[in-house]
Symmetry: C2
Subunit: 245 residues, 2 copies
């Protein structure tokens, strides 16, 4: 009823909040792209680009502490700051450390790892950021499955930067005949990306998360996270943790 679907036509939908995931998720035969631009999914891509072996995303600080006790490198962020007692937060720059190469890491963040938790009902979960945009799009074209672009948002609310990245994916894939069934949320994200793509930073200058991070002196992180196609890999969830092939 929602869209005309044939065997050769896949849905490309944007889900603007993890809270709405159950209304978009119909069957497990789909790919979910988890998006938390500022900064979890940008940090995850950066960590793999610098040689990390595996990242275990966990929803709670308690779970992160349990892994930490077992010897994992442990990262935890809440409200933009590193949680006390942890080695790392979610600034991408902290994952450029050569000492992390080959290591296994546990990660819990305000929004990003909560979104991964919700997405676990799907059989394929990947990590998307502007940094690996083209790699994500190539992956989705090869899979030929229904796609849900899952924005982590901010504590359940809509946010601009995650929506813009979702729009960037729709922008690249909408002319692929496999993805002709655009949902309303995909149409909106695509239109917004068209408006913003000339200068993402300028478009986001009044966004709530940008203002929040600017207060924490994280402008350098913001500029980094808005760069396109710096990283040519796709982190994928293997049932326990994220790895790259």
């Amino acid at each position: 009823m929602e869209t005309i679907e044939t065997e050769f036509q896949r849905k490309l939908e944007v889900c603007y909040s993890p809270e709405l995931f159950p209304t978009y998720f119909v069957k497990d035969d789909c790919v979910v792209v988890v998006i938390d631009i500022f900064r979890a999914t940008s940090a995850i891509c950066t960590a793999f680009d610098h040689g990390i072996k595996q990242i275990i995303p966990v929803a709670t600080i308690e779970e992160a502490r349990e892994y930490q006790a077992k010897g994992y490198v442990a990262a935890a962020e809440r409200n933009g700051e590193i949680v006390e007692g942890f080695d790392l937060g979610n600034s991408p720059f902290s994952y450029m450390n050569p000492e992390l190469k080959g290591k296994e890491l546990v990660l819990s963040t305000t929004n990003g790892t909560q979104a991964i938790e919700k997405a676990k009902a799907a059989n394929t979960i990947i990590i998307g950021s502007f940094l690996n945009l083209d790699a994500v799009c190539r992956f989705l074209e090869k899979q030929n499955k229904n796609v849900i672009l899952l924005c982590a948002g901010w504590k359940g609310r809509y946010n601009l930067e995650d929506s813009l990245f979702a729009g960037a994916v729709v922008n690249q894939l909408k002319n692929n005949p496999v993805f002709t069934g655009l949902s309303d949320s995909s149409i909106a994200a695509d239109q917004m990306y068209d408006l913003a793509k000339g200068d993402l930073g300028e478009f986001l200058k009044n966004s709530s998360h940008r203002r929040r991070l600017a207060k924490l002196n994280l402008e350098k992180d913001i500029d980094y996270c808005l760069q396109l196609n710096q990283i040519d890999l796709v982190p994928i969830f293997n049932g326990t943790g994220l790895t790259i092939n």
Copy 2:
């Protein structure tokens, strides 16, 4: 933390789905504008413009039947069609009947009345549609309270037409110094309305609900619901039903 708020500055937020309402609703001292353009809130405005006395919105068909048994005129719509055994659905044209003047009506619809149900935690709930856009904006300016523009969506999902109306309200109110704390969702809705306002029907031509209604031969309803400022009143919830002052 979300926005810089002073006593003289009110939030103007768009909530894209009733499912997200709990994440936006902080305290009852706010005005919620319930929006279901195709077609519940357009029909409600039309009914009051034609002299209906009160409309009781109910979430379930069973509740609507109970009111019907007590002698109320009863309207129920699911998936775009009139539910069997009811007099009316949610086509605005069916509310132009002079026989309804002075009557009390019970109404249950797929999305609109569910959104009203969620909004009941707020102390002021009003009904918005393109038909009464200016009247809604004037009401909000006079109230000087935080505002949540609540899109009914489609079964919990984002939809374009409700988001566009929310954007139309933001477009009118954003330069009022009372509403300087725009949320990310308000910025997005405003930008999209700017893109669409030259021809709303054209912008919506690929939207899912428009396609759904077109299949049911409801193009006439669509054109009617996209007209601006035909009706100069604001239906308001009095605790039991909707009335106008």
